[in-house]
């Protein structure tokens, strides 16, 4: 080991001898100059060393001072920047948040649910009280995670009791948008109204309000694009706009390019003191339907096939008010919510009957209809809540044009009274008993009794307002 190192050393000595000026030839003046240079270098180095030593001393003193000042935070100055807890590791750490909702029910209905209809309102979507007896309700599987630094994704699949699978929501959110914009794309429940965005298991009653059933076919979902924006002020003010394919009721699939439906809405709200929170909103939906066919009894009592082609406009005003003493909803709380719907439809209406008449007639059509519900839910002690809801629809003005010869304009006002009690032993389970008296057709009263369970497992759900 020593031998190889000798060679470079010997070489450098030889080089030095060859290159350096011969010392013996130096004059006194040169010697003095060299000494002076050495002295200067030494002084400058000493000064720098002293400065560095002083800095070291200062830093140490500061550390000691902080350490003594904060005996608890022994490594405080270092810990300040570095979090203590180590991040999760391993392949599974990247697994998305997964949750499942299990639901089932028992229904006792005095009227045949197969014959359910809302008199004066075109049927569409998923409406009615569901089947009698024991049954599963839809089971839901939700998967969500951040995709990368730009996107977050969410998939919610519904497994129906009939063993079919449907994609309830499957959307991406662009998380890096500027100006506070929150763009969302894919399939999602529209942000219109108050309840529409909530999944069925989060509702306070087992079924949707009649107005949702009559005007939106239960719940309005869409494949498309949504942009939401919250104003950068202390008062909550949110705007949203959506475009979609318009396949969902009250629209219908139309096999066309471009935008099939549009939604805009605005929400505002806030707190009043520590105990009250409020949100109000207005929404507007415009969509088109083609050959939205269904059957309807005509004046002669024939089961006629009717179809609508035209434009549908829906406007909704909604509010939700929540009260909890000092904002602590743990023991008791109360919430009151209501929504008012207007719908105007205009276009062509086709009347088609195979019976004795055997005729088909198409004529201009307009309708203006409204509906609303109001519900209150009171938690009277920990885990226990009771609720009451009233639904009412107004058939409004339906103008069948020339088809008025065969079809009668509706005059019946559908309504429903509902009571419920539920028990929520933890955030993850709920059992509910609900009783309702539903009058959706003239002279027909359906007494409905439901017993329902909702179990949530997996990732912690979000506490939506």
């Amino acid at each position: 080991m020593a031998k190889p190192s000798l060679l470079p050393r010997a070489l450098s000595v030889a080089l030095a001898l060859l290159l350096s000026p011969p010392l013996y030839a130096a004059s006194d003046a040169e010697v003095a100059e060299i000494r002076e240079q050495i002295r200067q270098i030494r002084e400058s180095y000493e000064a720098r060393l002293q400065a560095l030593e002083q800095r070291l001393k200062d830093a140490e003193a500061a550390r000691v001072k902080e350490a003594t000042a904060a005996p608890a935070a022994a490594a405080a100055p270092l810990a300040a920047a570095a979090p203590i807890s180590s991040p999760a590791s391993g392949i599974a750490a990247f697994n998305p948040a997964i949750s499942a909702v299990l639901q089932g029910r028992y229904a006792n209905l005095s009227q045949d649910p197969e014959k359910f209809s809302i008199a004066g309102f075109a049927p569409g979507g998923d409406i009615g009280p569901g089947r009698r007896g024991f049954s599963l309700s839809e089971s839901e599987l939700a998967i969500s995670a951040n995709v990368d630094h730009l996107f977050a994704g969410n998939l919610i699949v519904s497994l129906t009791p009939e063993n079919t699978v449907s994609v309830e929501e499957a959307y991406g959110v662009y998380t890096a948008a500027p100006y506070g914009l929150v763009p969302k794309f894919g399939r999602f429940f529209s942000g219109l109204g108050y309840m529409n965005e909530q999944h069925q298991h989060a509702w306070d009653f087992i079924d949707a309000p009649l107005a949702y059933q009559a005007f939106l076919g239960g719940q309005y979902g869409n494949d498309g694009l949504q942009v939401k924006w919250v104003a950068p002020i202390d008062q909550f003010l949110e705007f949203g706009a959506e475009v979609g394919n318009g396949d969902s009721f009250p629209g219908s699939a139309r096999n066309k390019n471009g935008v099939g439906s549009g939604v805009v809405y605005a929400h505002t709200g806030g707190d009043i003191g520590a105990s009250h929170s409020l949100r109000v909103g207005i929404s507007y939906l415009q969509t088109r339907a083609r050959d939205r066919d269904y059957s309807q009894l005509d004046r002669a009592g024939n089961d006629a096939q009717v179809g609508f082609n035209g434009t549908s406009h829906v406007a909704i005003a909604d509010f939700i008010w929540k009260y909890a003493p000092n904002g602590n909803a743990q023991n008791t709380n109360f919430k009151l919510q209501g929504e008012y719907f207007w719908r105007r439809e205009s276009g062509d209406f086709t009347y088609d009957v195979d019976g004795a008449l055997g005729l088909t007639n198409t004529s201009a059509y307009t309708s203006r209809q409204t509906g609303w519900y109001l519900q209150g839910v009171y938690q009277f002690m920990p885990y226990w809540r009771a609720g009451v809801r009233y639904d009412r629809l107004d058939p409004g003005h339906v103008n069948y044009g020339a088809n008025a010869a065969y079809l009668e304009s509706p005059a019946f006002h559908p309504e429903r009274y509902t009571l419920m009690v539920d028990y929520t032993p933890s955030e993850f389970s709920r059992v509910r008993l609900q009783w309702g008296q539903s009058k959706t057709q003239a002279g027909v009263t359906d007494n409905q009794l439901f017993l329902q369970y909702i179990l949530t497992l997996g990732a912690h759900g979000a506490h939506k307002f």
Binding site: V230, A231, N326, N328
Partner: protein
């Protein structure tokens, strides 16, 4: 029409003026961090505290007011350790404020700067409302506040470098006062060492560890599950074998269970402020621990 116009004007002014106010808009999830930011930031910060001391910070909804405040925040100061898991992710997502999303400098989690106790060995909701990350109620030990203060001060300086020296000076001053106060509280609380107590909810792990008290039992059969008569009777039996001085609960919790056990076991009920604003004396962080220690000493008599 005029009122609509003035409203529009107010909105326009608000949009224009909002970013021009205080240097840092801070959104604190719970009062203790709101108070700490005020100690460290002084008039350079504008603090909004999302919850009050009478609320259970776990059971909060993504209210419109919270979304609006998160929208304009430069910094969100949260406890973390899943305390706010039910609402904060939803609030920051809906607010559409990229500055305060998790992982960004504008998102601060206090729990990552302290040693978390009570990490569950078995992660199962059959064990109640367990937090996978451990007990998130870190603010009941003032030494944790000191640790968080250092990190939080550094974060304020990072976000507002122009005032870095100001934050450093304030932190130094706070740390000096705080450590002196800790020494005082520890001295005052010396008689509490080894004192056996009951807790209503397992929310005082850090306080108990700090003062060396002994938690004999919890009134809740499982964390987050309301006390039942059956479980309270068991606790009563335990207490008869193993005497305790008091039962402690947080200001936001119902008083029924602790009253029930106190009457039968002939012990004191001590209602602790739990956080800033939990009672009249807990006006700031110093008041919080002054009062906590005094109440415990009184309860131990």
């Amino acid at each position: 029409m005029t009122s609509f116009k003035s409203w529009l004007l107010a909105v326009a002014l608000g949009v224009w003026a909002a970013p021009a106010l205080a240097n840092l808009n801070v959104f604190a999830t719970v009062p203790e961090w709101g108070a700490l930011v005020e100690e460290l930031g002084g008039d350079k910060v504008k603090v909004y505290t999302a919850t009050n001391a009478l609320q259970d910070p776990h059971h909060v909804e993504a209210k419109p007011s919270l979304i609006a405040r998160a929208r304009g925040a430069d910094l969100v100061v949260a406890t973390g350790a899943e305390l706010e898991i039910g609402w904060l992710p939803l609030v920051t997502q809906q607010a559409g404020n990229p500055k305060v999303q998790a992982g960004k400098p504008g998102y601060f989690e206090a729990a990552s700067f302290v040693t978390i106790l009570d990490k569950p060995a078995r992660l199962d909701r059959a064990e109640g409302d367990v937090h996978a990350a451990g007990d998130p109620h870190i603010q009941t030990d003032p030494r944790n506040i000191a640790r968080v203060a250092g990190a939080l001060s550094a974060r304020l300086a990072e976000l507002d470098p122009g005032n870095a020296a100001f934050y450093q000076t304030r932190y130094k001053a706070f740390a000096d006062r705080w450590n002196a106060a800790i020494a005082r509280w520890e001295k005052e609380a010396a008689p509490l060492r080894g004192v056996a107590i009951l807790v209503q909810h397992k929310a005082f792990t850090y306080l108990i560890a700090w003062l060396g008290m002994k938690e004999v039992a919890s009134l809740e059969p499982k964390p987050g599950v309301e006390p039942t008569i059956a479980h309270l009777s068991e606790v009563l039996e335990t207490v008869q074998r193993q005497p305790v001085k008091m039962v402690i609960r947080a200001a936001y919790q119902s008083d029924r269970a602790s009253q029930w056990i106190a009457e039968r076991a002939k012990i004191n009920v001590v209602v602790l402020p739990f956080t800033v604003g939990g009672d009249d004396a807990a006006k700031d962080l110093f008041g919080l621990f002054d009062d906590t220690v005094q109440r415990l000493l009184k309860g131990a008599q």
